[in-house]
Symmetry: C2
Subunit: 345 residues, 2 copies
Amino acid sequence: MLMNDLIIRACKKQDVERTPIWVMRQAGRYLPEYRAIRKKVSFLELCKTPELAAEVTIQPVDIIGVDAAIIFSDILVVPEAMGMELNIEEGTGPVFSHPIRNVADSEKLLRIDPSVKLKYVLDAIALTKKELNGRVPIIGFAGSPFTLLTYMVEGKTSKSFSNIKRFIFQQSKTAHKILELMADNIIDYLLAKIQSGADLVQIFDTWGGILSPHHFEEFSLQYMSKIVEGLKLKTDVPVILFSKGIGSSIEKLTQTNTDVIGLDWSIDIKEAIGKVGGKAALQGNLDPTILYASEEVIAKEADRILTAVGKNNGHIFNLGHGIHPDTDPAKLKFLVDYVKEKSKR
Amino acid sequence: MLMNDLIIRACKKQDVERTPIWVMRQAGRYLPEYRAIRKKVSFLELCKTPELAAEVTIQPVDIIGVDAAIIFSDILVVPEAMGMELNIEEGTGPVFSHPIRNVADSEKLLRIDPSVKLKYVLDAIALTKKELNGRVPIIGFAGSPFTLLTYMVEGKTSKSFSNIKRFIFQQSKTAHKILELMADNIIDYLLAKIQSGADLVQIFDTWGGILSPHHFEEFSLQYMSKIVEGLKLKTDVPVILFSKGIGSSIEKLTQTNTDVIGLDWSIDIKEAIGKVGGKAALQGNLDPTILYASEEVIAKEADRILTAVGKNNGHIFNLGHGIHPDTDPAKLKFLVDYVKEKSKR
C-alpha cells in the first residue's frame, strides 16, 4: 500500500490534494550524499550493486522530499545486456567500444531475458520497495529504442549524430530490425521491473528530437507505441513517454496509449495543453537551469507552469530535462516545497 | 546587375521561373577544393585573407551551381572585433580564452566601427562581387546577439549550456546590456556588408532554441527584431532570420519585419507554412544528413518539401542546418540539380 500515491493519481487524471513533483536525475551528482557513495564505486558498479542503487534511489526522497523514487540505473544497461561492451568513464561519458555499423554487428544483438541479464536492476527495485515501505511510488524506466540505437551506433556522445543518421538512412531495414528487437526487449524489461515493484514506468526518448517529424514517427514513435501497447496488454501501471526536443510532434504521442506525456522546456506548456487536449496527463517543462537562479526567479517560473495548468488534474511537476550536476540541492528543495505549497487544492 | 536574382525575388515573394537553392556552409570542408586551400592556411587566416575568402566563397557557385554565394567568414569574428581573444583550433572548435562571466568582463567589450575592425570581411565581399560579376547574389551574415553571447560566455563548445544559462538568469541586466551592444554592432556590420556588395543578409540564431519560448523572446527575439528594424531603416535588401530548434516559436519571427524565415529540419514545413501564414518567405527544412542517403531517398525527401510548398512564391530551398563536412559533393550537386529541374514553373 502506498502512503503517497499522488503521482499515480495524477497519471490517471484523478483528484489530488496538490500537484506531485519529482525531478529527472534526482538521484545523482548534485547531491553530496550521492557523491560520497560514488567516491567508493564507479557509476556502473553503483548500477550493479542493488544495496547501493537502492540507497541512492531513496536519497532524494529523504533529503529533498520528492513524491516518487526513480530507480538508480542507466538506459545503456539494456544494450549492454544485449551483448555490447559498455564503458562509462568519468568526464567522457558512456562508450561502446564496438558500435553497431552494419548487418553483421546487428546480428550479434541478443533477445534477452531481463530476469537473468538485468537481475541486478530488479533486485535493486525489490530492495528499494522494501526499504521505502510504501512512502512513495517507484518509477522504473528504459530508453526508447531509437535513443538506445543512437548510442549503440554512435558509440559515444555525439554532436552531429552523423553515424546514426547515416545508418538509418543508408541501412533502414537493418535499423528497423534492431529497433523491433529493442522494443521487444524493453517490453520484457519494463514488465519485469513492474513485477519487481515499479509502480509506474517512464520511457526516455532523449534523441527522438534529432529527427524530422516524419522520421520521428518512422524510427522512434512507432516503437514507443509498440512498447506502450505491449505493456498495456499485461499491466495497468501508468506509462510516461518523454521525447526531448520534438516540438509540435508531442501531439503525436497521444496516438499511443500513454498515460502521461513528458515535456521538455522548449515548448510552451499552454501550447502543449492545447495539443494534447486532455488525452494524456502532462509532466515537466521547467528549464533545469532555472535552478541556477534566485528563489524569486524559481518561484516566478514555477508559477508560470502552475498557472498555465490551473488546478486541473493530470499534472506532474518536473523539470524539462535532468537536473544539472552543479545545481545547489537547496534550490531544488526550495522548488519542491514551493510547488507542494502553491498547488494545494 | 544580377544575372540570377531568383533568391532576391523569392525573398520578396515575387514570381520565379523555378525555386532557388543554396545551402548553409556551402563554402566548406565537404569540398576537396576548399580543403586544398585550408591545407595552406588556418581557418582564421582564411577568413582574414580577402583573396582566399573570395575564392572559397565562389567555389560552390562554380562546382555545385547554387543560386547564391555566402561570403566565407565566421560569426565569431564580431566578438573578436569587440575585443575577445579568439582561437579556432582543428578538432576542438572555437575557443575564447577569456569568456565573459561578470560585469567587469562585459565592460571591456567594444562598440565597433566595422569598416575598421572588420575591414577584411568587407574587402572579401567587394572582391567576391567583382569576381562574380553578377552571376549570383551575395549573402552577408551575422550571428544573432544571443548566439554570439552564448559562445562569449561559454568560451567554447558546450553541451549543457550551463554557463550561458547561469549568466542570463543570475545576471540578467548585464546580459541585456551586452545583447543591446551586440545588436548595435551587428546592425552596423550588416549595413557595412550591404554597402560593400551583399545583396541579402542572414542572421544565424543557432542557439535561440536552447531557451524556453518566453526566454527566447526576452533574450534572443527582441534583439533580432531590433537588428531587422535597424536594417530596414536604411536599406531594402532582404533579411533572413534563422533560429534553430525553436519549434512553434517560428511564428514569433513574423513579429519582426524579416523577409524570410529559415527553418531547421525539426519542424514539419506544412506546420511552418500554417504558422507563418504568408507573412514571410520560407527557407530550408531538409535534414542535412539526408545527403548521406541514396539519390532515390534524396529525391523523395526533396519532393516532400517541394510538394508541401507547391508552386507558391516565397520559397528558397536549403538544408535545415549546415552541410556536414563528410558529405559527398556529388550528392549535393544531385540535390541542387533535382530541385532546379523539379521546381520549374
